[in-house]
Symmetry: C2
Subunit: 417 residues, 2 copies
């Protein structure tokens, strides 16, 4: 079994060595002696932290970064985003996904929960680059019966665990898009199918006021209540946004065990509304953090997103709302747990996912409180190494194939008209 | 005269050369031929952008980064910040200021407007490091008459222009702290003295609801109206925060030409309230951006601050509020103008302040819109060079003396008890 010894890092304020054996942390204690064959990595001057788990994004939309900003939501979608997307080929989705993954690795993320089209291209990109992912196959009423049937067939053919790769890092999920794009019949079919197959359901939920009003007009119920009445909501549901909910709906979401993916930058940028961080926290909901896609953020930097989450929570008027530690738990431990990844904390026996940050970076000085510095002050320049499943995705700032990915993106015909 | 030729950068989407002669941009056009003695800098793969002007901070408070977070304002001040500050020596202020300047240079800032104690230490740090600064000498009712008189004497002894250095980059200003710490008599004296001497007045204004309520109770007027009635408000006033103001007060601030320093992160983190970006913008006020000190942010990254400003403005419900270009103008051009620095735009004849960003950084790919990418997506890793007054403060990522500054901070007795 492949072994790596991280020599002399800091964990929770104490100097230690960290021995990784295969995919897991085997031993965390000072003074470890390396066996013959163990690779030794000098980690002096670093601290080891859990990496980020990005629980809602549209990776390939990185090709639309900066394409249209500061616009009203439906103008943005109808006049800019959808016409651009209509031109995207499989190659675009693959290269856009690779660019997204490159950015995520650089900023300390080892997992993303995706929702988009031509999922196999994103699966291929993730598998090649060694990052964990759940890739959602999107269904709506508008993609046509053939495409819907093909989606269910593809998912039905998956091996146990719904893995789409050989390494056991990339899964497919089913992604019924939202209450305004999926009819009752299709919602019921998705819910039943997912339950039978142990699939995750990745959905948008209660993002805008218009969504609520339209859902009430069409179904006599708010989106949360309507989906609950259809039997959709359960522990296998990852619901993105969830901005416009009342206390009773928060209770429903908690009781059903729905995972909430909070997207502060996207909600702010599109003026969707303000997420009820404290209410979700007090209710004991399973809250995680996602960046949403690059068209509405416009980066995939989970550290920045976590700062936005922590500060946005305080706009309510309470400076004690969502302290840095809790925000970081949402972005790390809660995200890993939501997807059944035995990681998100640095501990013996857990899967070896981690970032090593450079304590000599000026943003981490002085060192009164590393978690505070990491959430409120750091940026991606502080990150030296990124480890996923016991393997370096970034080592001393180097990601294999980086230049080739950037060249491939820049030479896409889509971006050179 | 010292000349630098930046060979082959991008300005406003076009490839160009940029010739700097002494402190100014002399020629901006492709195909420049270097004279003998001109230093040639390869800028292929970069874009040149105006750097940031940080219009409100407390540089030395970088020593308190992460010292106390997520607390109610007065608990935070009384139980944490003030007791720590009471122990700070001149050496601490000097080293804290150097650390702050290091961080600002790394994140593309070439000017900061400071307010703190023992100003000469911050002046010394800024002068040594070559950054522009206005360093405010703080006065309150509580520092004692001797300290107040010493402040006025020090300022009265300044040479014309109120320069505190020989290079003409660092000025002193007068900083009456706030309406709740400065009495009417001292406000009048500060206003008269500043007017006579051509000094800037750097103040906190209308930051919290409590400040408004207390001011109305004490003086029968809100802070803006009270200071206006005392004759304080004018074009030489830099007012930080300015969160709680009605439309009439915004008109007063516009008519008087007061410069507003918007601090979105600090206002969010301390739950002070939400700045009225659109109202200030529509009124045509002189709005700029500042980071506030590192105790309440907890970094001095103006790029991140600009993203916070742009996104916070949209929380009002309008996704078209404060577009990236306007937010960037607040953080660059408006800041330079407010302090009479003939810079903030990249143009022939202007002072040579600039950042060169690396267009190969994945955060700036694809390149649909560089301004959007810069404000919404970039981080400090995108910045290759920082130029201030025709001189490199950071060159290819290297800042002279960086390691020594970090070592000096870490060895401060204050941080090693």
């Amino acid at each position: 079994m492949r072994k790596i010894l991280l020599k002399d890092t800091m964990l929770n304020g104490n100097r230690t060595d960290v021995l990784i054996a295969g995919h897991r942390f085997e031993k965390i204690a000072p003074g470890q002696i390396a066996d013959a064959g163990t690779e030794i990595v000098n980690a002096t001057g670093t601290a080891i932290l859990p990496p980020f788990y990005n629980t809602h994004t549209h990776a390939a939309m990185t090709l639309l970064r900066g394409y249209a900003d500061d616009k009203e939501l439906f103008t943005w979608l109808n006049d800019h985003i959808w016409p651009f997307e209509a031109k995207m080929t499989a190659r675009d989705i693959y290269e856009g996904s690779r660019l997204a993954i490159l950015e995520m690795i650089r900023s300390g993320t080892v997992f993303f929960n995706d929702m988009y089209w031509q999922s196999d291209e994103t699966v291929r990109a993730a598998s090649e680059m060694g990052i964990r992912a759940c890739v959602g196959m999107t269904v709506t009423d508008f993609i046509g019966e053939a495409a819907i049937e093909a989606t269910f067939e593809r998912l039905a053919a998956l091996k146990p665990g719904n893995w789409a790769d050989d390494a056991g890092l990339v899964r497919l999920t089913l992604a019924p898009h939202a209450v305004y794009t999926v009819c009752e019949k299709l919602w019921r079919r998705c819910a039943d199918f997912a339950r039978e197959r142990g699939l995750l359901l990745h959905i948008h939920l209660a993002e805008t006021r218009k969504e609520i009003a339209d859902c009430v007009a069409a179904h006599g119920k708010t989106p949360v209540r309507w989906l609950d009445s259809l039997g959709v909501l359960g522990e296998n549901v990852i619901a993105a946004h969830v901005v416009h909910v009342d206390d009773e709906e928060i209770s429903i979401l908690r009781e059903r065990g729905v995972v909430i993916a909070h997207n502060p930058c996207s909600n702010m940028k599109l003026a969707s509304g303000t997420f009820r961080s404290q209410a979700f926290s007090r209710a004991g909901c399973r809250v995680t953090i996602g960046t949403d896609g690059n068209a509405s953020n416009n980066n995939l930097d989970m550290r920045e997103e976590t700062k936005f989450a922590a500060l946005l929570a305080k706009v309510s008027g309470d400076p004690e709302a969502l302290p840095a530690e809790e925000a970081l738990a949402w972005a790390t431990r809660n995200g890993a747990e939501a997807f059944g990844i035995d990681a998100g904390v640095i501990a013996e026996g857990r899967l070896a996912d981690a970032v090593l940050v450079d304590l000599n970076n000026e943003r981490l000085v002085p060192s009164h409180n590393l978690i505070s510095n990491w959430v409120y002050s750091a940026d991606s320049r502080c990150i030296r190494d990124v480890i996923c499943n016991g393997k370096f995705l970034m080592r001393s700032g180097v990601i294999e194939g980086e230049a080739e990915i950037l060249d491939a993106v820049r030479s896409l015909p889509l971006l050179n008209r």
